[in-house]
C-alpha cells in the first residue's frame, strides 16, 4: 500500500490520548526544553506498544541515569552514532521472532530517536543504511536543536547560518556558523522511503499525527522535528512554543510531508513574519547586523519557494484520518 493511502488514526483535540504519559515526568531536562516536549508528545502519540532506541545525547542522559528511567516502553541505548543500526537489529529480530512464532503476533513499531548531531553528522551512515534497507516497522526521529547541546553547544551540520556556538563563535573575523543547515529531510527522501515529514512540538497535533502516520506506514519513516533549546539558543524558557510557531510562520521551518516521494506542504504561510522577529529573540544571533539578517531572509524565501514548488509540481491525494 502506498504511504499516502495508508490509513492511520489522526490526533485531534477530541481524540488526544488520555492516560499517563509514556515518558514519565521527573526526568532532568532543562526548563523550557523544546526537545523533551517533542519527545513526550511523540511517545504519547505512540503509546507503550513500541520499542524505543535512543542515541546518546541530551534526551538519553536526562531520561535514564541509572537506576532511574523515564521510559515506560522497552528502551535501549547503545551509543551515539548507531541508533538507526540498533533499531535495525531490534526491528529485524521482532519481525523474525513474530514469523517464527516466538513474539507477539502484531506489528510493533521500532522508533529510533537521535539529535541533530547523532543524525546528520556522526549517525548519517547508519541512518542511510537503515533507510535504504527498507525496514518495515522503522521510525526514525531526529530531534533537531541545531547543535551539540549535550556536550556544551558545539556546532553541527544542522546549526543555522550565523548562529554563535562554542565551536562556531562569532568574532572579529566570524559571523558565527558560516554554513547553511544540511537538508536532512531531502537526504532521507532521496532514499526513496515511503514517508518523510517535518514537525515541531509547537504544532503538537500535527507532530503527533505525523508520528501516527509513520507508525501505520509499511517501510521506513523519517521525521525531522524542530526542537528549541533554551540553553544553547539563549532563549527564554517560556518561549519554547512561541519560537516553534515563529519558525513555521517565518517560513524558516516549513511543515511538510514527503509521501512516496511527493511533497505535501501542510501549512501554507501566506503572510510570513519577518525572519528578524525570530532571530532577535535568541542570544545565539545577537551579534548579527541587519544586513546579515537580510541574507538569511533571502535564503529562507528561496528555500520555502523550493518546497512550495515541489509540492505544486506533483500534487498528491493524501489519506485523511482513518
Amino acid at each position: 500500500m502506498r504511504a499516502a493511502e495508508t490509513p492511520f488514526e489522526k490526533v485531534t483535540a477530541k481524540t488526544f490520548p488520555k492516560g499517563p504519559d509514556a515518558l514519565a515526568s521527573g526526568h532532568r531536562a532543562c526548563q523550557g526544553c523544546g526537545e523533551v516536549l517533542a519527545l513526550r508528545l511523540i511517545l504519547k502519540a505512540l503509546g507503550t506498544d513500541v520499542i524505543a532506541v535512543s542515541a546518546t545525547g541530551c534526551m538519553e542522559v536526562c531520561t535514564a541515569p541509572f537506576p532511574q528511567s523515564a521510559w515506560r516502553m522497552p528502551w535501549i541505548h547503545v551509543a551515539f552514532e548507531n541508533a538507526a543500526a540498533v533499531a535495525s537489529g531490534v526491528e529485524s529480530a521482532v519481525q523474525t521472532l513474530r514469523r517464527k512464532g516466538r513474539g507477539p503476533d502484531r506489528r510493533i513499531p521500532v522508533i529510533a530517536i537521535a539529535g541533530d548531531g547523532g543524525t546528520a553528522d556522526i549517525g548519517i551512515q547508519a541512518l542511510s543504511g537503515a533507510l535504504e534497507r527498507g525496514h518495515e516497522d522503522f521510525i526514525y526521529v531526529c530531534l533537531d536543536n541545531e547543535a551539540y547541546m549535550n556536550t556544551g553547544i558545539q556546532r553541527s551540520s544542522e546549526t543555522p547560518f550565523g548562529a554563535n556556538t562554542t565551536t562556531s563563535p562569532s568574532g572579529l573575523k566570524s559571523k558565527g556558523q558560516s554554513t547553511w543547515k544540511k537538508d536532512m529531510p531531502a537526504i532521507a527522501a532521496a532514499h526513496g522511503v515511503p514517508y518523510v515529514a517535518t514537525a515541531t512540538p509547537a504544532f503538537h497535533l500535527d507532530l503527533m499525527s505525523k508520528i501516527r502516520r509513520a507508525a501505520a506506514i509499511h517501510g521506513p519513516a523519517y521525521i525531522h522535528v524542530y526542537s528549541s533549546c533554551p540553553t544553547g539558543w539563549r532563549l527564554k524558557p517560556e518561549l519554547a512554543v512561541t519560537i516553534g510557531k515563529l519558525a513555521v510562520n517565518t517560513r524558516i521551518f516549513p511543515l511538510y510531508e514527503v509521501l512516496d516521494g511527493r511533497y505535501v506542504l501542510n501549512r501554507r504561510v501566506e503572510k510570513p513574519v519577518p525572519v528578524a522577529d525570530y532571530i532577535r529573540l535568541q542570544g545565539r544571533f545577537k551579534h548579527l547586523k541587519d544586513e546579515d539578517i537580510a541574507v538569511i531572509q533571502d535564503r529562507v524565501n528561496q528555500e520555502y519557494e523550493r518546497v512550495e514548488k515541489l509540492a505544486q509540481a506533483f500534487p498528491v491525494e493524501v489519506a485523511q484520518a482513518g
Binding site: V53, P65, A79, A87, G89, T96, L97, K100, P104
Partner: protein, 391 residues
C-alpha cells in the same frame, strides 16, 4: 551423526553450523577473509534453509550495533568479521558484554593495517582482548564447526549471557577444505536449548537497557560483567563435557600435546598447532622432550588449567602472533609471565613472535624455537625474538 566426514571449506562449515543452530538474525558486512562465511549464510537464508533475517548492514560498526539490538530483542544473533572490521566495531565491542547481549561472532583472524594486509595473524583479536567477550580459538575445521555450535550454548547460558568470539585463522584455516563430520539439525537441537535471554526488550515486561552509569554505579556495572566473564569458564567446561556426551568429541579449555613429560613446552593458539604437532613428533623421534600447550579458551584466561599443564616444564616458549608495539613481550607472553610470577618454581619463559601478516609458519620454526628456548639465559632475554625477520 553423518557416518562419514565430508570435504568442506571451513568457512562453509561454520555457516552450516550457524544454520544448524537456527540463528534468527545475521547482521554482517563483508571483509576478506570472512566473506565466505557471510556469503554462504546469505545463500542459506535465500534458499529458505535458514529462517533468519540477514541484515546487509553498511559497515561493521552497524553490524555490531544491529547485533546488540537484535540480541537484546531476544533473537539468536550471529555475525562474522576480520581485522579492520573488528577495529571498526571497537566501540560496540566494549558495550555488548555490559549490556549482556550474547552475540556470537566468528573472527577470521587477519592482520591489522598498516600496511594494509589481508593475511593471517592475531593482531585483530589481541587489540580488543580487554573488551569483555568470551574468546575461543579453533585449530582445525572440525573444531571450527563444533566450537560454533558450542559458542551459542556458552554465550546464551543464563549464567553467562555474554558475547563470544570464535577465532579461526584467516585463510590458513578459514579457506582450507577439510574432512568434517556434520551433525544433523535434530542432534544440534538436542544439544542447544532455545535462546531464553536474561534481559529482553519485551512489550509485556518493559525494561530499560543501557542506562547512564554515574560514578555511583559504573564500578559495580563493570564488576558485574567481569564476574560473569570469570564465572563463564565453568560453563565452558560444562558445555565441553556435555558436547562430548552428545557428539563424542572431547575438548578442553587448555589442550596438551605430548606435554606431560616435556621439558620444553611450546605455548600457542590457533591453527599453527597443527604444524607444530608435526614438528613435535619429529623432534620427539630425535629424543627431544618437547610438547605443546594450546589455549583453546583465551577469555576468560584459564589460569589454573594453564598452570597445571605447564607446571613441570623447564622451558616455556610462548608464541605470539601479534606485537604490542613499545612493549618487549607479546600479549600472550605478558599474561603468562604475570600468572607465573608468584609461583616459587617458574619455568624459563621466552617469547617468540612470528607468522605476522600471513608469513608462513613452518616446522623449521618450531625446531628453531625449541632450540632457542633451551638455551641458558633464555628466560632472561630482555625482549621477544622476532622469528624470521629480515634485518
Amino acid at each position: 551423526m553423518a557416518a562419514k566426514p565430508v570435504g568442506m571449506e571451513v568457512s562453509i562449515a561454520v555457516s552450516e553450523a550457524v544454520m544448524l543452530c537456527d540463528a534468527d538474525v545475521v547482521a554482517a558486512y563483508p571483509i576478506t577473509p570472512q566473506t565466505h562465511i557471510v556469503e554462504h549464510l546469505s545463500e542459506l537464508v535465500a534458499d529458505g534453509k535458514l529462517d533468519a533475517a540477514y541484515i546487509p548492514v553498511e559497515s561493521e560498526q552497524s553490524a555490531m550495533s544491529s547485533c546488540i539490538g537484535s540480541s537484546a530483542a531476544g533473537a539468536r544473533t550471529f555475525t562474522a568479521t576480520s581485522s579492520q572490521g573488528l577495529a571498526l566495531m571497537n566501540e560496540m565491542l566494549y558495550r555488548a558484554p555490559v549490556l549482556r547481549t550474547p552475540v556470537v561472532m566468528v573472527i577470521a583472524n587477519r592482520a591489522l593495517s598498516a600496511p594494509i594486509n589481508i593475511w593471517n595473524d592475531h593482531s585483530d583479536i589481541m587489540s580488543v582482548r580487554d573488551a569483555g567477550w568470551v574468546a575461543l580459538f579453533a585449530e582445525n575445521g572440525q573444531e571450527s564447526l563444533d566450537m560454533t555450535i558450542l559458542s551459542f550454548r556458552i554465550a546464551e547460558d543464563p549464567r553467562v549471557s555474554l558475547p563470544l568470539s570464535l577465532n579461526i585463522d584467516g585463510f590458513t584455516l578459514s579457506h582450507f577444505i577439510e574432512p568434517i563430520l556434520l551433525p544433523t539439525r535434530e542432534e544440534v537441537r538436542a544439544f542447544l536449548p532455545p535462546f531464553r535471554p536474561i534481559v529482553k526488550l519485551d512489550i509485556a515486561d518493559p525494561i530499560s537497557i543501557g542506562l547512564l552509569g554515574t560514578p555511583e554505579s559504573y564500578t559495580e556495572a563493570r564488576k558485574a560483567t567481569d564476574d560473569a566473564l570469570t564465572a563463564s569458564k565453568q560453563v565452558v567446561s560444562e558445555a565441553f563435557a556435555e558436547f562430548k556426551k552428545h557428539f563424542g568429541r572431547e575438548y578442553r579449555v587448555v589442550e596438551s600435546y605430548r606435554a606431560e613429560d616435556a621439558e620444553t613446552i611450546l605455548v600457542m593458539m590457533g591453527s599453527i598447532a597443527e604444524t607444530a604437532m608435526t614438528a613435535v613428533d619429529e623432534m620427539r623421534d630425535r629424543g627431544e622432550k618437547v610438547g605443546i600447550v594450546r589455549l583453546r579458551l583465551w577469555r576468560p584466561f584459564p589460569v589454573e588449567e594453564f598452570k597445571a599443564a605447564v607446571r613441570h616444564a623447564k622451558n616455556l616458549a610462548v608464541i605470539d602472533r601479534h606485537m604490542v608495539l613499545g612493549v618487549p613481550d607479546g600479549p600472550v607472553a605478558l599474561e603468562v609471565k604475570s600468572f607465573l610470577y608468584a609461583d616459587e618454581v617458574r619455568p624459563n619463559i621466552s617469547n617468540y613472535v612470528l607468522g605476522l601478516g600471513g608469513r608462513d609458519v613452518t616446522r623449521d620454526d618450531f625446531w628453531h624455537i625449541t632450540e632457542r628456548a633451551k638455551q641458558p639465559g633464555a628466560g632472561q632475554r630482555p625482549r621477544y625474538e622476532l622469528v624470521g625477520v629480515m634485518e
